[in-house]
């Protein structure tokens, strides 16, 4: 049998009520496998930040989780406004969040840098007017 598990989830934009569900679900799966607690935490934080970005800015997104005995790979592919200047967006403190989002405690401009910080490998690609694709990899050992 192949030692690979993959599963897809959907995130809907503006659905603040569901925000965090996908990262909680992924976290649950990792705990069921007995993945080390500190690794679970890094994946949880990275996924949650990415999920919140979708909820705040995009129409929707497909999240694909791929687990192997070596690594955890999460791809978040959204349909949304895209990011014009990725380099700028990766800087701590830069944010395009509205005052409402800030009111909810988001938009500190730490999202993307935080995702990168908690990943072992991080890729980002974006097309303005089409969407953004993040690839997060965290090694298991």
């Amino acid at each position: 049998m192949e030692d690979r598990f993959s599963h897809s989830f959907t995130i809907r934009g503006k659905h603040f009520i569901d925000a965090g569900k996908v990262s909680t679900e992924i976290k649950r799966l990792l705990k069921e496998l007995g993945v080390r607690a500190d690794i679970v935490r890094r994946v949880a934080i990275a996924t949650y930040e990415a999920e919140m970005n979708v909820v705040m800015y995009a129409k929707d997104a497909t999240v694909t989780l791929e687990l192997t005995p070596r690594d955890i790979r999460i791809v978040i592919d959204d349909r949304g406004p895209g990011i014009a200047d990725i380099e700028l967006a990766m800087q701590e403190g830069f944010s395009t969040a509205t005052s409402e989002m800030r009111e909810l405690g988001f938009g500190a401009g730490l999202g993307l840098p935080n995702i990168k910080k908690n990943s072992d490998d991080f890729k980002i690609g974006s097309t303005v007017g089409a969407g953004t694709k993040l690839e997060i990899t965290v090694f298991i050992n």
Partner: protein, 441 residues
């Protein structure tokens, strides 16, 4: 799997397999196999929901009874602050403490006052430790266990301070050793508990040293005796009244009310607690200072071993706090000094105790997860529980682990029958046509 002590035992003879426990167990720790409930010990957090819900009283709390303490030279009853809320309107805590001595305990010792000192210690800890945040209260044993098995990342958020129960037991024993010249092992400290989970705090104390509490007796067991003792007692006794905000520790928000921290919140009920814990693990709520957590939705007054309706009890606690709460029972400065001397510190660390993973080997675990998903996709996903597992997902997992057979799902079996009978009808149809043709010829 190492088998740890759990505070709840299933009486197989009483269990009639009614499945109520299956549906309410918040950690999916129960299965009904061959018509009887079984407990998956590694998942149980001793919350006591099953004790409350079972129509046949098949869940037996592993608490103590009065006779277990006959070997002690001297016994001290330590009633949980919940205890004061169980009796009629206006019965004073001091009267209750005195009545306990009339029913066979050599002495009684108030725990509400210890709760006040612990509150001061929490405040000191909050003021002198900037991280981590939020800090989580460690006083509900079911919550501590939930963190040990499901949220090991949050163990560092548990505030390392001893429970009022321990502090009170230690103090009560110390005073009596001094006063009567007894040795520690000659004095029995007995906690009157609102829930079976407190037993865990005794049997598996997070600290290195043993617990100062020698046993716990359910409030519901003491209640009838105490009601009759109270009927014969005089409420206008001259004893000093129990005072302070510690009296409110048995209700939701009781701990927070004792703190000066602005960003302290109280959460009750396991579903709510788990939602908040998930948020903390996602890196949220760092601006919250302290979280008071209760496994029971109405906190300790709603424990499975209480007698009074939790809402009535809550009302009584609120009135008690109003009446006796404003005046503290402890000298704040003195408690601060004790805090500095580590009087309240929890010695030792609370270790993680994760649920058994799908497999000890990561590779095989991933294969099993894949297989589980395949099985789950075939299931009806209505979580009917007829198979004896609480959800279709847990059933799929049980099948993968070899603890259940796919055929135990009535829907899968019905599908098999359906396809079998369709085949059968086809075969019968074909043959009967041939036979008919034979007759016609």
């Amino acid at each position: 799997m190492k088998s740890e002590f759990r505070s709840i035992r299933i009486d197989i003879d009483k269990c009639q397999g009614r499945m109520k426990c299956l549906r309410i167990c918040p950690t999916e720790a129960l299965r009904v196999r061959n018509g009887k409930a079984t407990l998956l010990g590694d998942r149980c957090i001793d919350c006591g929901e099953c004790v409350l819900q079972c129509p046949n009283d098949a869940f037996v709390p592993q608490t103590s009874s009065f006779s277990d303490f006959s070997s002690f030279k001297y016994t001290i009853a330590l009633p949980s602050p919940t205890f004061y809320s169980q009796f009629g309107k206006g019965v004073r805590p001091s009267t209750i403490l005195r009545a306990l001595k009339a029913i066979g305990f050599d002495d009684s010792y108030d725990v509400a006052c210890a709760s006040e000192s612990v509150s001061i210690a929490i405040q000191e800890y909050l003021d002198s430790n900037a991280t981590p945040r939020p800090l989580i209260s460690p006083f509900c044993p079911a919550i501590v266990r939930l963190i040990q098995i499901r949220y090991p990342n949050l163990l560092e958020n548990l505030i390392p301070i001893e429970s009022p129960m321990e502090i009170a037991a230690r103090e009560a024993k110390r005073l009596k050793m001094h006063e009567l010249g007894l040795k520690e092992h000659e004095i029995g400290a007995i906690y009157l508990t609102p829930c079976p989970a407190k037993m865990i705090a005794l049997r598996h104390p997070p600290r290195k040293k043993h617990s100062f509490v020698d046993g716990v007796i359910p409030i519901s067991d003491i209640y009838p005796k105490l009601v009759s003792a109270l009927a014969h007692s005089d409420d206008s006794n001259g004893a000093a009244e129990v005072r302070g905000l510690g009296l409110g520790w048995s209700i939701v928000g009781g701990q927070v009310a004792c703190l000066k921290a602005e960003d302290a919140i109280a959460i009750a009920g396991l579903t709510n607690v788990m939602r908040v814990f998930d948020e903390i693990e996602n890196g949220r709520l760092k601006d919250i200072q302290y979280i008071e957590c209760h496994s029971c939705p109405t906190a300790c007054v709603g424990g499975s071993l209480t007698v009074e309706n939790p809402y009535i009890a809550r009302g009584r606690v609120l009135r008690m706090v109003e009446k006796y709460g404003s005046e503290p029972c402890q000298d704040r400065q003195k408690i601060r000094e004790l805090y500095q001397k580590n009087f309240f510190s929890l010695i030792g660390t609370i270790a993680p105790s994760p649920v058994q993973p799908l497999d000890d080997d990561m590779s095989r675990g991933i294969q099993k997860m894949h297989k589980r998903q395949q099985i789950y996709d075939m299931l009806p996903k209505i979580d009917c529980g007829a198979c004896g597992a609480p959800t279709c997902m847990t059933f799929a997992e049980d099948v993968v682990k070899g603890d259940a057979e796919a055929e135990e799902c009535v829907f899968l079996t019905m599908k098999t029958f359906e396809s079998m009978s369709t085949n059968l009808l086809e075969v019968v149809g074909k043959h009967s046509k041939r036979i008919h043709r034979g007759i016609e010829r």
